[in-house]
Subunit: 119 residues, 2 copies
């Protein structure tokens, strides 16, 4: 397709991937990164801050994921409210690993499509 592009300009395939249930998005790249930051920081509020996201937004995303999952993906730890810690449950760790792998397959798809643009 490269013969269609203005000369001396780099084009690429890009996109977004997510898993959705009947009512809402379940996992996407933003939710994945939030889970990974919760895993790294042990805290929803620290994870939100790292991402430049409000605590309410982060909490709503966690609530959406926990509601749609058979077992919660994020569990509270002792300490209460904003101060308390949070951690990924085994289900949460599995969701991170599996969606990260899906995202990597998507990135491979995009790289192949970008290469194909220039064939």
């Amino acid at each position: 397709m490269h013969e269609l592009f203005a000369e001396n300009q780099a084009f690429r395939a890009n996109g977004r991937l997510w898993i959705e249930g009947p009512a809402d998005r379940f996992l996407g790249i933003g939710r994945l990164e939030l889970l990974e930051h919760i895993q790294a920081t042990g805290s929803i509020s620290k994870a939100a801050k790292t991402m430049g996201m409000s605590y309410k937004k982060a909490w709503d995303l966690v609530s959406s994921m926990n509601t749609q999952a058979r077992q919660p993906l994020v569990g509270a730890q002792a300490g209460g409210a904003h101060g308390g810690g949070a951690a990924l449950t085994p289900a949460g760790a599995q969701a991170v690993a599996e969606f990260r792998a899906m995202q990597e397959r998507f990135e491979a798809f995009l790289a192949a499509e970008t290469a194909r643009l220039y064939q």
Copy 2:
């Protein structure tokens, strides 16, 4: 991954795919559908109406594509301003065919990922 999902709920992989240049999106599903409607109706304003899109929005999208392409994807036909016809150029027809094929490969990717969720 299905063991993570709330029971009796159907989940699926979904997403969006586009081609982007250095400055802007070049082609995506909305732009593809706009080009296909221009091809079918011979008119930017009719295509916009079919899509529930303002004429200005449609014109801006066509302008963005034409600016980024080596040869315009959409050409004006006699008749002037809103009343005049529009048609895909050969480059436009090629862009439609190639991006439609890319979109179909993406849909196959999504179907495979949805199947994989339930393996």
